[in-house]
Structure formats: C-alpha cells, structure tokens
Symmetry: C2
Subunit: 228 residues, 2 copies
C-alpha cells in the first residue's frame, strides 16, 4: 500500500490533515473534495491529492473523500491505532504540564508510568498516575513493555537515561531534553522538541513584520484551524 520512500515533507503534513479531518467530523461533515479541504487548510488541492496518493487512492472521482474513512486511514498511517504504552521521565514543571495537557489516549498511546529520580516526589499523583522512582524502571518495563518515552529531564542526565531505556526495550523518544539521541543510537525513533526555536522564529517574524511590508506571510505561518 505504501510506496516505500515517502518524503519527510509529506509526513510532516499528515498530522495536520488528521487534525482538520477530525474537526470536519466534529462538524458532522461526511464528505469533502480536495478543493474544499484546500480552502480550509490554505494549501493547494493538488498538494492534498499528491500527498494522499503516496499512501493509496482514498478518494472517489466525482465524489471526493469520505471524511471518517480518510481520517481513519491517515490515523492508521501515523500509527495512532497501535495502542502502545508510553512512559514519561522527569516530573518537573514541563513533565507535569505534558502529563496533564496531552491526551495521549487520543493518539493511540497509554501513559502508563511517570518516573523521577527525585525520591521526594515518589507516590505523588499526577492525572491519576503515581510518580515512581527511576530505580523502578527495570521492573516496570519488564512487566509493561512500554515502547516510547517522553524525556522531560535536563541534558546532563539524558545520555545515561536513554542508554538505560534502550536496554529496557524503549525505542522511541519524544525528546524535550537537549541531548542528541541520534548521535549514539541512530536506530531509535526520535522527535526532538525545541520550543525555543519556535519562539526565535516568531521573534524573526515579528521583527520583519514591524520593519517593512505587511505582505508575504510565509506559507508555514498561515495555518491551523482546530478542535480541542
């Protein structure tokens, strides 16, 4: 079904398709054409058709796309129907905010454990999950086999933690620390989040908005209409 080399550009757009389709579904819209969707998402109809066709022909000529079915398909492509277990390491401000703010279940993950190396946090509950000390990780992973970890720890402790987790069978990392996992483990699936990059990009946009023309909004900034 899936052509073997999907470009990164396409993959990065899939979550946005998924969100918009969810929104349409909430609004009770059952079918949509690439043209209509392109207007809502502010991109070209051609791009939408190209993107979707990397994975198969989900549409029907003369009709368009069935919203529910297309969303299900995109979700499947993204692996949102896997129902894997995920753990979170580091129950500081960021870790707690992510625990509360991100609805993991909505994206096919079960947040099954929260860990911190600070013994004084042990047994404190966040969103109904008790924080465990990191020395409980081997036991927990042997029992629950989580495949993904959210890293909300400082760079200093990250290297050892990743080594540990890799050995315990975790091979995907949502990495809010600034340690570069790929340098040591090129085979792990890694998504680095650098919120400050986003802030700096905004700073650039703000500066260049003030200075000159109120024209040419870079396309990536025109975006997003959504649920939640």
């Amino acid at each position: 079904m899936q052509k073997n080399n999907i470009s990164n550009s396409v993959i990065r757009r899939l979550p946005r398709y998924y969100r918009f389709l969810g929104e349409l579904l909430n609004q009770g819209i059952t079918k949509i054409s690439s043209r209509e969707l392109s207007e809502k998402m502010r991109l070209t109809a051609s791009q939408i058709r190209q993107d979707l066709n990397c994975f198969g022909g989900f549409g029907q000529q003369g009709y368009g796309y069935n919203v529910a079915e297309l969303r299900r398909q995109v979700g499947h492509i993204l692996g949102l129907d896997k129902h894997d277990k995920i753990i979170l390491i580091g129950a500081g401000n960021l870790g707690r905010a992510i625990t509360v703010h991100i609805d993991f279940a909505k994206y096919g993950y079960e947040l099954s454990g929260i860990f911190d190396s600070n013994i004084s946090l042990e047994n404190i509950e966040i969103s109904g999950i008790k924080i465990m000390h990191t020395n409980k990780l081997p036991e927990f992973c042997a029992e629950n086999a989580p495949t993904m970890a959210v890293l909300c720890i400082p760079k200093s402790g990250a290297k050892d933690m990743v080594k540990n987790l890799i050995n315990l069978g975790v091979n995907a990392f949502w990495n809010f620390s600034h340690y570069d996992i790929h340098y040591d483990y090129p085979d792990a699936a890694v998504e680095n989040v650098h919120l400050t990059d986003s802030l700096m990009t905004l700073s650039y946009a703000a500066k260049n908005k003030q200075d000159h023309d109120p024209e040419d909004i870079p396309k990536d900034f025109i975006t997003d209409n959504e649920e939640e």
Copy 2:
C-alpha cells in the same frame, strides 16, 4: 544587508545555528569553519555558507567564522536583541510550565505579565510574577506596551482574546491555543505550536522503524546537540 526574500527553509534553520553557536561559545571555541560546523550539525558545509550568505558575509576566507560574532549576528537577525515585553495569557498547567521552563530573557524578551480569566488565581505568584485578572489587560498594556503574547488558553476563548490584544497593540502571538489567528488577522506575526503534531510524527517514525529497514532516518530527525 538582508536580501529581501529569505526563504522559510533558511529562517527555520537559524534558531538551530544560534543554539549550536551558543554551545560552542560555552565550550570556549572562538573560531569555526563551515566544514567543522557542518560535522557537528550534520548538514553540508555548503548549506551553512549558503544560509549565512543570505544575510551577509560573516566569515573570512582562510580563517572561518568567529563564533561569538557570528552568534551575535544570527541573534540580531532573529531579533533577539530587541528586548521587547511579552505577556502570557492563561495560567493553567501549560501556561505555568512555560512560565517556569522558558527563559524568555535569554531570547530577548521580558515576561512582564501573566493573565488569567479565573479570578481565583489572581495574585498567585509564578516565577516571581503575580497573576493578574484579564480585565487588567487594557491598563497593563497602556502602561507597559507589550508587543508579544503567549496564548495558553482554550480555542473557545482565543478569538475574542486575540481581538482584544490586537487592539491593545500586541501584534505577535506564540499560539498554543488551536484558534487560527491568521484567518482573522493576516498581518499579525504568529507561530502556532502543535505539540501533538510532533507526537504523531514520532508515532509514524516509531511504526515504520519497527516494520522494516533500520535505514534512511529522515534528515530532520538527525539533530541537535545543545546547552541547557
């Protein structure tokens, strides 16, 4: 100095350059060639030279780039030396985490106010800043003239809030809500943050890692070596 049409691809790379240069500076490295930097950042030397030359010739043939000076220049391009005021709207979990976790001063912004519509949060302090009720916004903005706002509020209240803020002189938004500002205010500078997109992209990578070849890591995933 700045050629008028800098592509979005280049702009999105600037924060990463800035981070790496900061790291080099911390390590006491005073000069670097595009080749050396390319090895550290895992991209081509040609791209680095091409990118930097969009903004001017910061290097010297036979020598390379002066790290401190280049970092200062990139910071200036990004507008990190503006020292504008920024406010944060919505003191929920996410808002509090951002307040504590993001070092705004490091990127040229002074977090000067935190606002929430929940009256019971009034006067609670986060990172030394007292939460104010949102009805204090007009007075506060008249006095302090913040130019940027971090939006940590639900989509439902976002539209009215943005309208308000625009009228109060705020024209840049770090938008964690899922309301699409650009639909109504095409001239505002907006950076939308969709953490769940990042999670879904990771899900895709994790799935396709398990399934087949341990080859072809998409280039965007190989990344980032950093301070903090």
